[in-house]
Amino acid sequence: MDAAFALIAGHANYWLVVILMMIGLYVAIARGNLVKKIVGLNLFQTSVFMLYISMGKVEGGTAPILTGLPATVYSNPLPHVLILTAIVVGISTTALALALVVRIREAYGTIEEDEILEIERDVGSKS
């Protein structure tokens, strides 16, 4: 019983992140709207950041900015560095994806996945 409680208390944070991740994945694969898909991918991405930052947290720790006091416990700075880079790469891919969606809208007149596929199929059957 105690072991089960320790497992839940120690891992609830990760499981909540997994729930967020799965909502993001659901939005990305279940919805046909291309902008909605990008938002879903962003949700997924931010959840992955949360998972990494959770791993770097130390109980009773503080932000890794050196205070000079010898007894201070710091959280691990390396996941933070990794995620800072990932955030910047993430915004680059989002901008690129949105630009592609704008072009798709100009070329097809719609941003719904099934309508685009239908137009493609019509064009394919005519030629």
Binding site: M22, T46, F49, G56, P64, L78, A99
Partner: protein, 182 residues
Amino acid sequence: MMIAVDLILFAFLILTAIAIARLRNLFAVAMLSGLFSLLAAGLFVALDAVDVAFTEAAVGGGVSTIFMLGALALMPREEKRPVHGALLPLVLCLVTGAALVYGTIDMPAFGSPDAPVQRHVGPEYLARALPETGVPNVVTAVLASYRGYDTLGETTVIFVAAISVLMILGISLGSGRQKGGE
């Protein structure tokens, strides 16, 4: 106290994510995704990642929302009702989620100070950052000094992305029309 803040932020994050999944108005979705980033930034502060928090608030909550609104100005605001059923994606997400939860069971408990990730090179950086680089913020020391070339590579990524966006939009739009925010 710490756990309460954590749980409240997670509750709001999950509510926001569900609202994003259910809403069809894309303007509302863009705004809620900005809110999601802001809440995520709050969570990062609670988890001691202050540098990540302000980057997420500025980039995820600010710049990304502006891009989204700029793109939405050129698009219909309403999402159409999906024609295919939502059951298969739901099952897929549940299976993937269960697999991920199963994977976390082997992980060391949250916040545990003797997890492998805390025992490896992390303490080395904390001990050596100040004498070697003179920067008290260890995240900055690693990002700009130890991993300086990687950060240069990261700026290259932004540069390439900016060029690609300009090429995708700029040439095809021709003269006269300007694209806001992108």
